[in-house]
Symmetry: C2
Subunit: 530 residues, 2 copies
């Protein structure tokens, strides 16, 4: 068939371009041919032919470590993983009823959620373009379900707009777009943009503004059935005698310019935030558990690493078995170290001064997440909100509605806070009980009445107090990237670092996996050359 | 608790307002209090105390008829339903492998889909605010799953822009917003809007435009990592040594103004099109079947109504039992007629001239839907598209990607066309085989190569050729609404009409249900007064 021929030709062309001009030229060509790059993942690495008896020590049984162990074992290496905790998965983690969690400072929470309910303290959503993660989820049998990221019907709340009351996202978005369209149309019609835009494009733009912004025939954005079709009605269309809709009044223009409005709109256009997104059925840790199953015999749990040494022949890691409180050593030819920099910077490590400086250069963020179990899904039943997020400028940052068991009748867990600095610092300084109280008080602003009434129990994780991570994820700045990134990801003799901190997809599982694949590919190459 | 008190007070206030000022005042007050109306549904009707022995004949076992029968039976009426087809559900319909469908004109299709696959020729998605439908789905045990309505990563295709090649929705949307933001910022900075906007709001607006439109520090929208974070990268962020992203080039401004871009953006803000949306697990007809189960003993199938007569004492309907080809009559005190106007206008009916004029005044739309079963989910595997729609200005209108069994490995059914006039007229004039060929040819423009290669079998429904509907749904204009709507929904002595055509939520199941509830509520009132 004709299309088959065309396809082959394109592929041959791309191969030729890649050979001639390298990766950047290839990506350029792909985009030009209508194939924008979705990911740097090009399939699982094709590693094989490890030297007989070659060994690798992997530090950390998070996703980066587990994947490294899995692929290196397939390549023929003898692999061992040392893990500080008594479980695998690392920050890929879910808290369930019956779990106990003790944070730095000593506060212990006994989680009281009903069976089937959970809080994902770390990662909680998967973008459609995180192809590495999606690939291994499929391969390892992790069932995924949609994560409702974008929901027109959630609330926006700002303490400095709309009288401090929540408004529906759709109404704020429609009014922002309507006002922007009206103002730009006015400029065009006043000939203010005659130099910037051709006469033909001015006509096209006016038509576009009217259609996109729901302007009337005079290019005005006014309360009308037309505007209500985007922003919501005073009385929505119905059936029978009283079926006719009634238009809704517009929000105040000054309020519509509140940063909460445009930051929310911009948020949903963010690369990692765009739909479609997914979550594992049953909790995020289904992923960590599935990865761990592939290499379960290789993991030593309760191993607290205190020293990482290397010489020309190999790597020696000293660790304490925290179960027996005995100091032990492990040796290997090579080491893939996935310990978060926040922890690693405190470990005695035989690397170059430049590497040590890189490890110490990157601060960690300290998000706080709070899960609130509610007796019933009042956000669905009373507010017609099924998944998605209501944003607020209060410390809790948002309320996110569960995506599992939509329309369920039993208790469900809301994400009652996803706080970032400075709100996160404030919440981290509190006891778990105090954090719940803040979440209830601030959440009640968005869902008055039901929020406290339906509350059953809560759980919180302040990442700056997580003993085995001391933070949520690496926070690179442009400056630290420039100065330290290439050092951090480069092999330091027999040691290579991997994890979200060794990627440009920071704070995401995908970054950890892509970093891991890149690290082990280079390690394997070096091992064959050595 | 304080919030409990507050809640009661609000409710009491709303009751008082409703008593004093009626429904419109109530809606006004609810909005003011931050409770924009989501629906006209206020719960199932509380009908009871029908006169002993009172009977109702319901014509049509679509959703409106089934609900009328269900609620009137609960209210104490003796109900009978006459249905033309040999199944209930009406336009709530799914075609599956093994089904046979003969359209007007005689063309017969034997559907060849694999087990579990289906095409929903009629309704296929449920908005979150269609509370009547959601209420009864829950009550009747219909399991729902998310319908991925909004997907940033689908394609937009215009034959008059982007060289006729598909572009990602996210890229077109980002570039539209970026250009609009830059132009409006330019106007503001040239003082063109000083009279329209206060100095304070100009500053707020500039900040908003920069943040929303991803403008640089000089308020320009340029190819950059910043813009790429919304529109997609040339090379997306990755891990390890080559992790740094590469920005993508912008689309041509003239092309970004193509109507396909802004109509798509506006589409997703439409009241009925906003997220979250749902579909029944297993096919849309799960709803019709669940409704039918509630009243299954009341339905007479294969009943072709030819005459609807009434006098002061009751209603008499003449119908042909198409199975035995015998003419029969059915009598009742009252009649709820849910037959589509396209059919009803051809039936001998004893109503006022005004009602007959109303019935004949409303034309029906003739959408065409085409289902294409593909060997594998290439849109997921090759294009990272999970659900959602790619829009095109070709006759097929769109390609919509299945929302069930995401990540599945077996064959799946794409919606390969959802054509409206004039494309629908053109496709309806073809044989089913020709329609499939058009869908493949036009779909291949968006997914070259894979589309034809993976195609297995197809099915099409041209609604203008559906024997029992003669169209998809009622197309009211502002003028016909004004002249005929209230007549159409009013009781004509002992007969009341119901269905999506008797609502302002035309073409949606919710309209049929709201219309039905309104109709039977008035019928019940009249019956008690009679």
């Amino acid at each position: 068939m004709g299309t088959g021929v065309q396809r082959t030709t394109r592929r041959q062309l791309l191969s030729a371009i890649a050979l001639a001009g390298g990766t950047a030229a290839l990506y350029q060509a792909m985009t030009t041919l209508g194939h924008a790059a979705e990911t740097q993942f090009t399939g699982p690495p094709n590693l094989s032919g490890a030297r007989k008896g070659a060994t690798v020590l992997v530090l950390g049984a998070g996703l980066a470590g587990l994947l490294a162990a899995y692929e290196l074992t397939k390549a023929g290496y003898k692999v061992r993983i040392l893990e500080f905790q008594n479980r695998a998965g690392g920050r890929n983690w879910s808290l369930r009823g019956g779990d106990t969690y003790t944070e730095l400072g000593g506060a212990t929470q006994k989680i009281g959620f009903q069976p089937g309910n959970y809080l994902n303290p770390g990662p909680w959503r998967i973008p459609h373009h995180h192809r590495t993660l999606l690939h291994y989820c499929r391969q390892f049998g992790v069932a995924l379900e949609p994560f409702i990221q974008f929901n027109h019907n959630t609330y926006i709340h700002s303490s400095t707009a709309f009288g401090g009351k929540p408004v529906r996202f759709k109404a704020a978005k429609a009014d922002f777009e309507g006002n922007v369209a009206e103002l730009l149309a006015k400029s065009i019609n006043q000939n203010a943009l005659d130099e910037a835009v051709t006469a033909e494009d001015r006509e096209r733009l006016l038509e576009a503004l009217r259609g996109w912004g729901m302007l009337d025939k005079d290019y005005r954005y006014v309360s009308s059935l037309r505007a209500s079709a985007h922003r919501g009605y005073e009385r929505p269309p119905g059936g029978g005698v009283n079926g006719a809709p009634i238009p809704s009044p517009l929000l105040d223009f000054h309020d519509v310019l509140d940063p909460q409005v445009w930051t929310s709109m911009s948020f949903f256009m963010g690369h990692e935030m765009q739909t479609t997104m997914f979550q594992p059925v049953g909790g995020m840790d289904m992923i960590g558990k599935a990865f761990a199953r592939q290499v379960q015999d290789l993991i030593t749990y309760n191993a607290k690493v205190s020293r990482i040494a290397q010489d020309r022949k190999g790597v020696e890691v000293t660790y304490t078995d925290t179960a027996s409180n005995t100091v032990q050593t492990a040796k290997a030819d090579w080491c893939v170290c996935t310990i978060p920099l926040s922890i690693l910077s405190q470990i005695d490590m035989q690397v170059t001064d430049e590497m040590m400086a890189a490890i110490r250069a990157v601060p960690y963020s300290g998000q706080v997440k709070i899960g609130l179990e509610m007796r019933r899904r009042f956000w669905e039943e009373d507010d017609s909100i099924y998944g998605g997020h209501s944003f607020t400028d209060q410390e809790i940052g948002l309320i996110s509605y569960p995506n599992n068991d939509l329309f369920g009748r039993g208790p469900a867990v809301l994400l009652g806070a996803f706080a970032r600095e400075p709100g996160a610092y404030w919440l981290a300084g509190m006891t778990p009980e105090q954090r719940i109280e803040v979440a209830l008080a601030q959440g009640s602003v968005i869902h008055p009445g039901a929020y406290r009434k339906e509350f059953m129990t809560g759980a919180s994780v302040a990442w700056s107090r997580v003993p085995w991570a001391l933070g949520c994820c690496a926070r690179w700045s442009e400056e630290t990237r420039k100065e330290h990134y290439q050092t951090l990801v480069a092999m330091d003799r027999r040691i290579v670092l991997a994890g979200e901190h060794a990627s440009y997809v920071g704070c995401w599982m995908e970054g950890a996996l892509l970093s891991s694949l890149d690290a082990i590919t280079r390690l394997h190459k070096r091992a064959l050359e050595a």
